[in-house]
């Protein structure tokens, strides 16, 4: 299972080689997440309607390695946007992927851009 984790590496906006079109804005529920398939990866995309911002991360929760993060609850901790895993409620920053619960788990995060009502996720592959 650990193999799965290796598939996911954070991407910074300036590194993006491929902006993958995931869908249109209205396909993504407001103030929650949805899961996008990109080759053999599962990416969770979050639409923070309240602040009009978008984030993406691996769908795989690093705690027990289940494909569930897109089904978690969004929120913020001192203005850091975060996602709480639906299985054991571990929370992760959607800015740098670090755990907000003080452990050393972390997730990979990906840039999102919106153009003409389309949602794009940035990858290096």
């Amino acid at each position: 299972m650990q193999e799965l984790l290796k598939k996911y590496n954070s991407v910074k906006t300036f590194e993006v080689k491929n902006w993958f079109r995931a869908g249109t804005i209205d396909q993504f529920p407001s103030d929650s997440g949805a899961c996008v398939k990109y080759n053999d990866k599962q990416i969770a995309v979050f639409n923070f309607t309240r602040t009009n911002t978008w984030y993406a991360c691996q769908n795989l929760c690093p705690h027990r390695l289940e494909m569930v993060l897109s089904r978690g609850m969004t929120g913020d901790l001192n203005d850091i946007p975060k996602i709480a895993c639906p299985l054991h409620k571990k929370t992760f920053s959607l800015i740098d992927g670090k755990s907000l619960g003080g452990d050393d788990l972390s997730i990979s995060v990906y840039p999102v851009k919106i153009e003409d009502e389309n949602v794009y996720i940035g990858f290096t592959d």
Binding site: G23, R50, L65, D103, D104, L105
Partner: protein, 835 residues
């Protein structure tokens, strides 16, 4: 500048730093700390939590930047190998030399490994550092991969049992081997120990007493233990927990006075035989004793820091050794002198074999003083007893109420916590007195438990004093005419009841409006479900109206399982089901290949449905006449029934009919926590109704209504609210009771703890519900009636509305299911592949 060097950065060494930096004299001090371990000091007391979900960082007592910000030179992974007390220098293992004016030895202790042949074999461990635990964990994993799974712990003391529990949590079959004829020989008497042994065996641990280990068998790695009585225990690994020995080698080489059985001799100033050298913590021998507990170590740290700053603080002449055992799945505590037995002492014991409870208190013959005691199976009275003992307080007329009483809700034997003397030590780890806790509040520096913890550090040691600290805070605030406020989270500085009232009075309809009007920020996984529950209770809305704020289970109207699949639980009111409906469940389970099990709530759970399958399965269920069982919500779950007077020869009334009516009445209603009910047809109580939030029992002349019970981790029997009610009155009282609870309870607080917190307890509840003392009974009934009238099955809503159905796709851009889900066979069914 005075140079102070500390050798050892463990719990006590750290406490010394903390005490020293808080002194004004610290400006004149250069502090250097050496620690042999690779990381800054961490909380060894809670070491076992490292096996759960705690990371090493959670255990850390202070970060490296804390040391930096106080100009403390912390050198980790550095072991001091010699002390030159003539030239006042220390030398580390790399040969670097450092000068000191004052030296503090806080080198702690090491686990004692008895000289048993074979103790150097692979698979033999000790239990003291994070590295030890890492090694144990990875060895255990390797064992399991190779299909082996037994562990043994040598030593049945406090630490040994904790290590054994850890073995069990790692999924190993674990045995405890003890040389003495009983467990925890230093804290427990024979009765207590045998009660504990029964409890622990019941939890699946093996106990082997009276066993002297002759040698450790195995070629390269351990395979078992051979005992002096010629018996043998096979095991794949061993954790040795046979006591500790002070790490006093450095002191020996420095020519300091050492006790006969080890430990650096210190006086009540913590000074060793060399006045420039102090010793504190588990390496120090004070009163001819080494204390293996943090509380005395912390006091030593404070004394040494004061002495070095020129003060004259002294160590208390006698050290309290009271302990509460944690983390073994049952409660154990001992305090004072647990064993004392002579003609000037009377011993009172209480024993309940069935429940596994043993309590003993030792009282002076004249009944005036508590001298010590033991609690096994239920240590809820520990804090009270400990305070009575420690402060030599006057005991009640019949001292037996101390261990038998208090159950009838008459409150604690202490009376009001504010009656404790100001000097009463509440947190012994951090030595915080009642005076400093109450003072912090009275002086206006603190106004919540959280503030008090930050300012006094109370509860941050073993945490055992937490209930008493929060009682003190509440009572002090009350005495000042303030009410205690538990706010929901960083986004709402309100408690649930206030938020409930605001939503209702201002007729708020959605989460964003509530956040804009009464909150700040953008919400989180705590406040969203709280508001979702409030909206449901006030506007009778289902989880489908505002999916984004529902707890993740409510959002998908199903409980998520270990592997990310879901369970399906249709409602089976009262547990009554026709053969036809049973066959439907069977057919659907078969079609979707779902694992099927009868639940503890008299219905059937179908496990292993993938997200996209949920609406398909529910469509078939609803077509067959089923509806949501709300097994995923903080809502009414089940009303359990017994067969009652229709079939049972003892039945007094029709319990099934009544249970079905009640379940159908309250189905779908959301509440601060889940709600369960039960109806029994006679006092034999086959429906276990008194283990529920509301329980109804048929008696001559009507129904008895009991409220506020639950099973779960802290079982409580429901308490009688009213007797001999007819159907209608019973339902009227239930309406009022449930609505009152829904309005006033804190988030995730079940009815039993809610009643416990309710001022005036059951008598007050009777006033409100039966005698309508608040004049709100009519309102409560109307609110309930409106919830009942507006019930809709949210699964029916979900399958009928294509917008809602979209929620149940795994991918937004592909039809594929999640390919990572995999199962293994289990008997004739299946289960998720283990983690």
């Amino acid at each position: 500048m005075k140079k102070v060097i500390v050798i050892g950065n463990g719990m006590v060494g750290y406490k010394f730093c903390e005490k020293l930096v808080s002194r004004s004299e610290f400006k004149e001090i250069r502090l250097t700390v050496f620690g042999e371990e690779p990381r800054p000091a961490y909380d060894r007391v809670h070491l076992s939590e490292y096996f759960n979900e705690t990371g090493a960082d959670d255990l850390q007592l202070a970060s490296r930047s804390w040391y930096e910000s106080h100009n403390i030179d912390l050198k980790t992974t550095t072991m001091i190998s010699t002390i030159d007390s003539i030239h006042r220098t220390v030398t580390d293992h790399k040969g670097n030399t450092y000068c000191y004016d004052k030296l503090v030895l806080a080198t702690g202790s090491y686990p004692f490994v008895p000289p048993i042949p074979g103790a150097d074999k692979k698979g033999v461990f000790v239990y003291r550092t994070i590295e030890d635990l890492d090694a144990i964990k990875s060895y255990a994993l390797k064992l399991k991969e190779n299909g082996r799974s037994t562990a043994a712990v040598l030593g049945g003391g406090l630490l040994g049992l904790e290590a054994a529990n850890a073995g069990k949590e790692l999924g190993l079959e674990t045995h405890v081997v003890e040389f003495a004829p009983r467990l925890m020989p230093r804290q427990l008497d024979d009765n207590a120990s045998s009660m504990l042994a029964d409890k622990i065996t019941g939890m699946g641990l093996g106990i082997h007493l009276n066993k002297a280990t002759k040698h450790i068998a195995g070629d390269d790695a351990i395979t078992g233990l051979a005992f002096a009585d010629d018996t043998f225990l096979s095991t794949d690994m061993l954790i040795i927990s046979a006591g500790i020995r002070p790490r006093d080698q450095l002191a020996v080489s420095a020519g300091l006075l050492i006790g006969e059985r080890g430990g650096i001799t210190v006086d009540n100033k913590m000074q060793t035989s060399n006045p420039d050298i102090y010793a504190i913590g588990e390496v120090a021998l004070y009163n001819n004793m080494v204390y293996g507990l943090v509380a005395p170590g912390y006091e030593m740290a404070e004394v040494a820091a004061d002495q070095i700053c020129g003060g004259d603080k002294r160590m208390s002449p006698s050290i309290d050794m009271s302990t509460q055992l944690k983390l073994i799945g049952t409660e154990v505590a001992s305090f004072g002198d647990p064993f004392i037995e002579n003609e000037s002492v009377s011993v009172i014991t209480y024993e309940n074999k069935q429940k596994g409870i043993y309590k003993r208190i030792n009282i002076s013959k004249d009944g005036s003083k508590l001298l010590g005691g033991i609690l096994v199976g239920d240590s809820s009275d520990y804090n009270t007893l400990f305070q009575l003992y420690l402060n030599e307080m006057k005991l009640p007329e019949d001292p037996e109420v101390l261990i038998l009483g208090s159950r009838d809700g008459a409150g604690s034997a202490l009376g009001n916590v504010l009656d404790l003397p100001e000097t009463a030590q509440i947190c012994s780890c951090e030595s915080v007195s009642k005076g400093s806790i109450c003072g912090a509040i009275l002086e206006g520096n603190c106004c919540s438990v959280k503030d008090v913890i930050t300012s006094t550090k109370a509860t941050t040691g073993c945490g055992g004093c937490k209930p008493m600290v929060s009682d003190l805070v509440t009572e002090t605030l009350k005495s000042m005419g303030k009410t205690v406020k538990e706010t929901i989270c960083e986004h709402f500085e309100l408690n649930r009841q206030e938020l409930y009232d605001l939503v209702k009075v201002k007729n708020i309809q959605d989460y964003d409006t509530a956040l804009n009007e009464f909150g700040k920020g953008h919400g989180c996984e705590i406040c969203k479900p709280v508001l979702a529950s409030i909206f449901a209770s006030i506007h009778a809305e289902t989880a489908n109206r505002q999916p984004a704020i529902q707890d993740s289970n409510d959002k998908f109207l199903a409980n998520i399982q270990r592997n990310g699949t879901y369970s399906v639980v249709p409602r089976v009111p009262g547990g009554e089901i026709t053969p036809d409906k049973l066959m439907v469940l069977g057919a659907i389970a078969k079609k979707y290949d779902l694992y099927t099990k009868i639940t503890g709530g008299q219905r059937i759970d179908l496990f292993g449905a993938q997200l996209y399958e949920l609406p398909l399965i529910w469509k078939e269920l609803i077509d067959a006449g089923f509806e949501s069982g709300h097994a995923y919500g903080k809502a009414l779950r089940t009303v359990k029934s017994c067969v009652g007077s229709t079939w049972c020869r003892y039945g007094m009334h029709e319990s099934v009919t009544f249970a079905i009516n009640i379940e159908n009445r309250y189905r779908g209603i959301r509440s601060p926590h889940k709600l369960k009910g039960g109806v029994s047809g006679c006092i034999r109580e086959c429906a276990e109704a008194r283990g529920k939030d509301f329980g109804i029992i048929a008696v001559d002349g009507g129904w008895n209504l009991y409220v506020c019970g639950n099973g779960g981790a802290n079982p409580k029997h429901a308490i009688l609210l009213a007797e001999q009610l007819d159907d209608e009155t019973c339902i009227r009282y239930l309406d009022r009771f449930l609505m009152f609870y829904i309005r006033t309870a804190a988030p995730l607080m079940r009815t039993a703890p809610w009643l416990e917190k309710l001022d005036g307890g059951i008598e007050y509840l009777k006033d409100v519900i039966i005698r309508d003392s608040l004049g709100i009974a009519g309102e409560l009934e109307e609110e309930m009636e409106s919830l009942v009238d507006r019930y809709t099955c949210e699964w029916k809503q979900a399958i009928e509305d294509p917008e809602i159905a979209k929620r149940f796709r795994h991918f937004i851009n592909a039809e594929d299911p999640d390919e990572n889900i995999s199962y293994v066979p289990l008997r004739d069914q299946k289960m998720p592949k283990p983690w």
